[in-house]
């Protein structure tokens, strides 16, 4: 066997010798070695990451994919702030057990407007990629207030304070503008009325609610998510976000219809 290897490698002996000699020299110069390591590691990154931007089929095309409303985006920021991603993933892998438990596997297009993405790989709690409309707003609120009221064996922390914190909406135009800078197609109108839209989506009784459906589509959920119409809380935002998870596009369900047995 070793003989065979030696014969096969013989044509490359010059190369190996050159490689060994260069390496021997580089090892004696720390800067040269550092630059060499960066180049070697960079090759992997360049070959694996760079082509994803030029290969069209990386992200599925879906003209109906909708952007997050300001309220949902605010909820997403709260989700990140509270570290929900540390225990919950948002990506259903292409594995049978995942698909049977959570539903159609996640598509790249679903996180097209996620900056940053929250796919995650750590699941202390379940995956949340298809959570939207699985439970009622009331359930979500009660569960966030004290998870053990509804799921006795849960180890999730309590987030009751979200009910008492007024949602800060003044910075939303800026946040949407920042997202537009990285490719989320928010219009000038959406950015200008972001604060009003956030308040309107959580309060269907006000005229601001009409602007939300006008700009983000009639299917947008306009409700008092936290059950308290008098104010817009962080609970409103987080529940609005949880209820849209997996519902920005119905492409996954089209590609993978529920497998009839």
């Amino acid at each position: 066997m070793m003989r065979l290897i030696r014969i096969l490698l013989r044509p490359f002996s010059k190369f190996f010798e050159f490689h060994a000699r260069t390496h021997y020299r580089a090892e004696r110069h720390s800067m040269a070695l550092t630059i060499g390591i960066i180049i070697a590691a960079g090759v992997g990154g360049f070959v694996e990451i760079a082509p994803l931007f030029t290969i069209d089929e990386t992200v599925e095309a879906d003209p109906h994919m909708r952007v997050y409303t300001p309220l949902e985006q605010a909820g997403r920021d709260i989700y990140i702030r509270e570290g929900c991603y540390a225990c919950h993933s948002q990506m259903i892998r292409t594995l049978r057990d995942e698909v049977e438990r959570y539903g159609p596997y996640s598509l790249a297009v679903e996180s097209k407007y996620d900056h940053p993405m929250l796919w995650g790989s750590k699941r202390t709690g379940p995956d949340l990629a298809r959570l939207g409309d699985k439970y009622s707003d009331d359930w979500q609120v009660r569960h966030l207030v004290n998870p053990r009221d509804l799921v006795p064996e849960s180890v999730m922390p309590q987030y009751a304070f979200l009910l008492d914190r007024r949602l800060e909406t003044d910075s939303l135009p800026g946040r949407l503008a920042a997202l537009r800078a990285v490719g989320v197609p928010y219009t000038d109108e959406m950015i200008a009325s972001a604060s009003a839209d956030a308040a309107g989506q959580a309060n269907p009784l006000t005229s601001a609610a009409d602007g939300v459906t006008e700009r983000y589509g009639d299917a947008t959920a306009v409700r008092t998510f936290d059950g308290r119409p008098d104010r817009v809380t962080e609970m409103d935002a987080l529940v609005a976000y949880l209820q849209i998870l997996g519902k920005l596009t119905d492409l996954p369900a089209q590609i993978q219809p529920v497998a009839e047995e």
Partner: protein, 290 residues
């Protein structure tokens, strides 16, 4: 190599580094390492041709085997469903009563249903299906929409107050908040409702309550308070309360109204899975009420 010094004891070359007279051996890389380097490189080379590997500018090499994870998972689901077909076909074909009577089939149904229930239903109805505040128990024979298998299948399919076009719809009005009844009227009718399930109240209060009840509540809950599975109106004459049967809870219910919510399962669970759950719940109910 530039350095040709040899260690006198081992005969190996040294690196030329020296610390206080101690030199470092420049031993050869062990053969086993070279062997694994060779094998792994060879393996990688073979896989370049078999699997999708190299990115090109607008596409990538697809590989001879044509492997695609998405096709694989779809295929594995089809295979797994085929492997289960020996009993799921019988679940599809047999009436629920026959499945309940078939011990061997029930063992498989229960096994699968336990997981389906845990993933999808237990969040609200609890792992033992006994419900909780705001969520009805499924382990008794008191049903809002009817507890026969066909009705349960339909409820699972369309949900309650859900997004499905055929969804079941029901709502308890906010009699107090919307100004239909005053506080004293609500207190009176609450007392009357409590008397339906056996609480003792003075006769004239019962008469006054009955009048308010007949005018406001009877259209859904029925003249006798037994509710209606047509409208999803609960029975008020028994001891089973979703939101609490004490005077304070009932006052809140009548004053602010209630509206339950159950999702449609049509897009999430297959018809077979919904039937498995129906059988499971029938079984739980049968055992609990025996």
């Amino acid at each position: 190599m530039a350095v040709r010094k040899r260690d006198p004891l081992t005969g190996h070359e040294t690196t030329g580094h020296e610390w206080d007279g101690i030199t470092e051996l420049n031993t050869r890389v062990p053969r086993s390492i070279w062997f694994f380097v060779f094998v792994t490189h060879l393996w990688a080379l073979i896989l370049w041709f078999l699997l999708p590997t190299w990115p090109l500018i607008t596409t990538y090499t697809k590989g001879i085997l044509g492997i695609d994870q998405r096709d694989e998972v779809q295929e594995s689901i089809v295979v797994a469903n085929a492997a289960r077909a020996d009993w799921t076909d019988r679940v599809d074909a047999l009436p629920v009563a026959d499945i309940l009577g078939d011990g061997e089939l029930m063992a498989r149904v229960t096994n699968t249903a336990h997981q389906l229930f845990g993933d999808n239903c237990a969040g609200c109805h609890g792992t033992a299906a006994t419900g909780g505040p705001g969520f009805p128990s499924l382990a008794d024979d008191d049903w809002l929409w009817g507890g026969d298998p066909d009705t349960m299948m339909e409820t699972l399919r369309v949900g309650v107050n859900a997004g499905h076009p055929d969804t079941r719809v029901s709502q308890m009005l906010a009699f107090g908040r919307d100004g239909i009844l005053g506080r004293e009227e609500i207190r009176t009718v609450v007392d009357y409702v409590r008397s339906l399930s056996g609480a003792a109240i003075p006769a004239e209060r019962a008469a006054a309550g009955a009048e308010i009840y007949a005018a406001n509540c009877a259209s859904c809950h029925g003249e006798d308070g037994r509710g209606s599975t047509e409208l999803g109106a609960p029975n008020l004459t028994d001891d089973i309360w979703i939101y609490g049967g004490d005077a304070a809870s009932l006052f809140t219910t009548v004053h602010d109204g209630r509206q339950g919510w159950m999702p449609t399962w049509e897009g999430r669970l297959t018809e077979t899975e919904r039937k498995i759950l129906t059988v499971y719940l029938q079984d739980i109910q049968r055992k609990a009420t025996q």
